[in-house]
Symmetry: C2
Subunit: 430 residues, 2 copies
């Protein structure tokens, strides 16, 4: 059933940097859009908080309104662009009013994505959210397009620009965490309160969105195992380098017959892996799929222009679907039941850095803990530098379960010769 | 003007690994496609050379034909998939018959792309060619989508898997060129006659396709400056490593007010650049654009499944356009006049490796050549190892024009103290 529309009208909620950017792009490219879609696309109303604020830009004054009702009740408006960063309320009501929605709202999509997408399906509307993950990288659309003829088995992403910026500065410029964070804040890459970034919450939200989509299953924020940047101990970055790795804050998601596993944590990435050279504020997502194999999508994870460009891409897609009459038919609703793996079912290589007393027989005592838990070791290194408190031992395991890893750490902690478990990491991307 | 079709029929030309792969994907995902497009999509006829050949797969026997006429004259067929790897003849006739075309044919697109795209426009058809560059990477579509609201200023790509595989093995496993090539041939990454790959012709064809699209201008194969892998001298990979670079065969394309420049050659890429870790047979294209900034798309550059997946993606897009009635409205025809930069107008940093007689005053003599040509030097290193024929001097310039670079090389060659110009490279990605 194709739609007989001969124009598409848009209601824009929010006119900050992203909103005004979208308006400008739609204005500047109206001829291209008309060519692409066959009908004109234009913004009809713009919701703002304050009508009196002085605004430059392409929107005539009479289009601004402070009434959400006015926008949602306008029968000529087909599509809502939500860039207020607020709650899910406006999105929900727009969908209920039968209007398609394009949003950049990561928090709402992570919290209520499945529910909102179901609502979109029920109301035969599209809900597109490209800009919610990976800023300017055309990621969601590429994953969705690919899913039409392929199956994604895993993805690993650097999806938080702040932490990646900090880690890059620490590695390449030998900055301290504090100095690197200060620089990130100064450049606008970090918020005044950076905890959502450095504790991994922001990345976890994005991984919820990516994993739900990629595996067509519901994923809750609670399903994501999260370790923040503060787990990185002094000297760990150098240690990684010494073994040919780079420490990155990654989000990783896998699915197999047993279920899904999603984690956000600092990991060791081999230097030969493409994710190891994703530096500064850049984001990248590395995708493993059945047919195409391995692909990676890299780009700016934030910024008003990149984000506005992604929103505009969604607008084009949404308009196309409205005109084709296939809006709301994208099978948003999860096809598979939510099944989260237990720690027994997650497998990886681990790196343990243990500070021990410099005594005879310590190494034998510790390696026996690994054998007791049936964990075989790939590498054992005693760091040549004795420090005040003792010696550093580095253990790199072959593949073990996360449960084995946790059991070993618990036993190590209970060993009198062990002064401290300085740090431990999963190895990613091997 | 939307189209009133309630089904889309496809004529498939060629049933080799890619063709049969496409047929299988379309068959296995027919429900998804129907959901996405609102109408069923199916293959109606398949052109093969030999009807008697035994074939497994999803296509019933009576659909095969040896007559191109029969496929092209079937009024019910809307779309042609060309995966024969033959001449442009079939594509041309399909477009003249008013049928959309999806092709994986890189040679034809590089040779006759602009002409065929014009023909497609004239006949109100689409001509899509995602699989012609970067195998399974959704590259062309992403560039085209992006171009609706952004402007590409440059791109650098590793677009030939064979040479990248060889260079990776040479760097990481210390293999000789010959051994690495033999391994590539054995694994099916290199043809029996690898000259199109190692001489850079294959990459040049792909760069013609990417540059024409990205800059919306006609680019001829002759416009591409090409240097093959044989320009890499013994010891160059180690030399690059010593200075923090990796040698990669890249295609690069830039556009500014003065015109375009397109080159395929071995270059020095800084190790911190994402392209430096694109290894083995993988391809990647790094894109610089006005709004989004820097993005990179990475994945398998060849292979039957990845290629078939890309072709299927094009089929979905072509069907969508047919149903929307916007096929042939993608403004294929170049918008800008072809204007190729002269060597005076191309700027980069260069690395010169010169073997000189071990005599007093040589360094002064050589540096004076650089100053004479107003080229300032960033680094000058005399390699500590004296070899039989003399000493190695390494010069790394600041940005100079390609003309300066050539003039300096000519003067160096004429200097009696210079035994040989061992090698020279452009620095890419800085």
């Amino acid at each position: 059933m194709k739609n007989e529309k001969n124009e598409i009208n848009i209601g824009l909620l929010g006119y900050g940097v992203v909103g005004s950017g979208v308006a400008t792009i739609l204005h500047n490219h109206q001829d291209d859009l008309r060519h692409k879609l066959g009908v004109p696309v234009s913004i009809k109303k713009v919701l703002v908080k304050n009508l009196d604020k002085k605004r430059n830009g392409v929107i005539p004054k009479e289009m601004f309104t402070t009434s959400l009702e006015e926008v949602l009740n306008d029968p000529e408006i087909d599509l809502i662009i939500e860039v207020t960063g607020g709650s899910s309320e406006a999105i929900r009501r727009a969908l209920e009013a039968g209007k398609g929605v394009v949003t950049a709202n990561k928090d709402v999509m992570a919290e209520s994505g499945p529910e909102l997408l179901k609502l979109a399906d029920e109301n035969k509307c599209d809900l597109l959210y490209e800009a919610s993950v990976g800023g300017g990288i055309p990621l969601i659309r590429t994953l969705e397009d690919g899913l039409a003829s392929d199956r994604i088995t895993a993805l690993t992403g650097i999806v938080n620009g702040t932490t990646n910026f900090i880690l890059t500065k620490m590695k390449h410029e030998n900055k301290t965490y504090e100095d690197a964070l200060a620089e990130a804040t100064e450049l606008g890459f970090a918020e005044a309160d950076p905890s959502a970034d450095v504790d991994g919450i922001d990345a976890a939200r994005k991984m919820v969105i990516l994993a739900s989509l990629s595996f067509s299953t519901e994923v809750h924020l609670d399903d994501v195992f999260v370790r923040g940047m503060k787990e990185i101990a002094d000297g760990d970055l150098q240690l990684a380098e010494q073994f040919g790795y780079t420490i990155k804050m990654t989000g990783s998601a896998k699915k197999d017959e047993e279920g899904i596993e999603v984690a956000v944590e600092p990991v060791f990435v081999p230097n030969s892996h493409p994710l190891a050279t994703v530096n500064n504020e850049f984001n990248a997502v590395y995708v493993y799929s059945d047919s195409v194999g391995e692909t990676m999508f890299y780009g700016p994870g934030a910024g008003s222009l990149p984000t506005a460009t992604s929103v505009t891409g969604d607008v084009v897609a949404a308009c196309r679907n409205i005109l084709l009459g296939v809006n709301g038919k994208r099978m948003h609703a999860p096809q598979f039941e939510r099944k989260v793996k237990s720690d027994d079912q997650k497998h990886a290589r681990y790196i343990h850095r243990i500070t021990v007393r410099d005594e005879v027989g310590v190494l034998t005592e510790l390696t026996s803990i690994y054998s007791h838990h049936k964990a075989s070791l790939a590498t054992v290194v005693q760091d040549s530098d004795l420090h005040e408190e003792g010696a550093d031992l580095i253990f790199i395991t072959h593949k073990i379960s996360r449960q084995q890893h946790l059991d070993i750490l618990a036993d190590l902690k209970d060993t009198p010769a062990v002064i401290d478990i300085s740090s431990h990491y999963r190895v990613e991307g091997e």
